[in-house]
């Protein structure tokens, strides 16, 4: 994960980007909890809101893997489909852990 490259891509310096990425992980964990709860209750609107939140923030920082997953979950939930949400939640959790680890490493 090249934070310097990602920072340049959105016009920030690396330090600012790291700060943003830390905030993203922190808020992302909360969003993911909300997504998990909404999915457990089969609450499609709740899934839409949480996935939308993750989608917007990840897109803005260039975390494209999370963006793609969240986008698909949001679209499916809008169509009242929650089939792949469980797997998606797991993948997003892994991605957030990876970002967190990368932030700690450097």
């Amino acid at each position: 994960m090249n934070f310097n490259e990602m920072a340049e891509h959105i016009g920030l310096d690396e330090q600012d980007f790291r700060e943003m990425a830390e905030l993203f992980v922190s808020v992302g964990v909360t969003d993911l909890d909300k997504l998990r709860d909404a999915y457990a209750q089969r609450n499609c609107q709740g899934v839409v809101m949480s996935a939308h939140s993750l989608k917007g923030a990840s897109a803005n920082l260039g975390f494209n893997d999370i963006y793609e997953i969240a986008k698909r979950v949001e679209a499916d939930a809008r169509a009242q489909k929650l089939d792949g949400a469980d797997e998606a939640i797991g993948k997003i959790a892994q991605k957030l852990t990876s970002i967190s680890a990368a932030l700690e490493k450097h």
Binding site: E19, V27, K55, A57
Partner: protein, 383 residues
């Protein structure tokens, strides 16, 4: 992690202050960094109601508004911001992950100046914010220029409206409140022969600046076409001839001209489609003086039936425009009810000097002049 329900973050404004309304702290923080890097000050709120309160309180130069937020959506916030006179002028740019055309069209129809989709691109955000602020500044410049011109018209208009101190022997009091800087109501008081004065009230259709320009033309016509040898009905005929050639598309004016000859104890009234004058005797009896006549500025040929009234010292008469009759708001009145209310106020203030009586009558009829929907004019004369 959330920003908190009412918490806002602020930096010192440089080129302008931008209010960011977004429920996601990452988006808010990123926009703050982008905007601060270009010298803008920022304010932030995490939901629509907090954003609206902050906008009304701090009047930012531009609002970046997310659409999909819990509770009040950005569309609803935009609609409410545009309805609030305190914030209606602030340009709003939607920032959303919603990329469908329908959302963009909805946002623009609600009064937003722009719509940007997430992910944000720094250069695009700054370019668009900069352009909208420039546009806003240009509009502001035009508005300030127009306001200055309107003020000049207002001052010129005030200068042609005679005040009681200029003609103390005319024994009149007047109250005139236009709803814009330059109004469409008009009055004049002028010598009309030895021991005689003319009193004129008029109301031009419309409240735009064109109506106020016409008041200057009317002043000139009255000045040139009144005097002891010119009957009031003839004055009205001349005014009609000139304005029917000037006015278009249903524009018109109504007016009433009262010529009071104190030495002959005679009042002559010509009414051109205007609300009737009110006549109050020294004994406290009041009645409308219903002289018949056509409106001015529409027809080539018009008819007037002058009314002559014998007057006595201590009697009063009142000329006014219909803004004083049709008070709107919580207590709307019909024209008939308005005349009845006005007559009651004239009687009630009978013991006051004419100048004070006029002001008191207007205060009784319109206690809150900030809510007027039409110019109001009341001209009272003591015989």
């Amino acid at each position: 992690m959330t920003i908190g329900p009412m918490e806002t973050r602020e930096t010192m404004p440089g080129k302008g202050t931008i209010l960011i309304v977004d429920d996601h702290p990452v988006n808010v923080k990123l926009l703050e960094k982008i905007l601060k890097s270009a010298g803008y000050g920022t304010l932030a709120a995490e939901n629509g109601p907090d954003g609206r309160s902050l906008a009304a309180l701090r009047l930012p130069d531009l609002i970046l508004l997310d659409i999909m937020m819990p509770g009040e959506s950005g569309f609803e916030s935009c609609e409410l911001l545009k309805k609030d006179p305190r914030t209606a002028h602030i340009p709003i740019v939607f920032l959303s992950a919603k990329t469908d055309t329908e959302s963009k069209v909805t946002g623009l129809k609600l009064g937003a100046v722009d719509y940007m989709t997430k992910p944000f691109d720094k250069t695009e955000v700054l370019a668009r914010v900069g352009r909208h602020l420039e546009t806003r500044d240009s509009y502001r410049g035009i508005i300030e220029l127009q306001a200055a011109k309107l003020k000049q018209v207002h001052e010129a208009q005030q200068a042609i409206l005679p005040q009681p101190v200029e003609f103390p022997e005319a024994l009149f009091g007047v109250s005139y409140t236009p709803i814009i800087e330059a109004g469409g109501d008009f009055y004049d008081v002028f010598p009309a022969g030895e021991g005689a004065f003319g009193y004129f009230a008029a109301d031009f259709s419309g409240h735009d600046i064109r109506a106020s320009y016409n008041t200057f033309a009317l002043k000139a016509l009255i000045s040139q076409n009144t005097g002891p040898q010119i009957p009031p009905a003839e004055t009205m005929q001349v005014i009609n001839r000139v304005f029917s050639s000037l006015m278009k598309n249903g524009e018109h004016l109504t007016g009433v001209y009262a010529r009071l000859d104190r030495r002959a104890s005679e009042l002559t009234v010509v009414n051109a489609g205007h609300p009737p004058m009110l006549y109050l005797t020294a004994g406290g009896e009041i009645r409308p003086l219903a002289a018949e006549g056509d409106i001015l500025g529409v027809f080539d040929d018009v008819l007037f039936e002058p009314l002559r009234v014998n007057v006595s010292g201590g009697d009063r008469f009142f000329l006014f425009t219909d803004g004083l009759l049709e008070v709107f708001g919580e207590d709307p009145r019909s024209r008939e009810e308005g005349i009845d209310a006005l007559m009651a106020c004239c009687v009630e203030t009978r013991d006051l000097p004419i100048g004070r009586a006029v002001n008191e009558i207007v205060s009784l009829i319109c206690p809150d002049r900030s809510r007027l929907q039409d110019d109001i004019l009341l001209l009272g004369v003591e015989v």
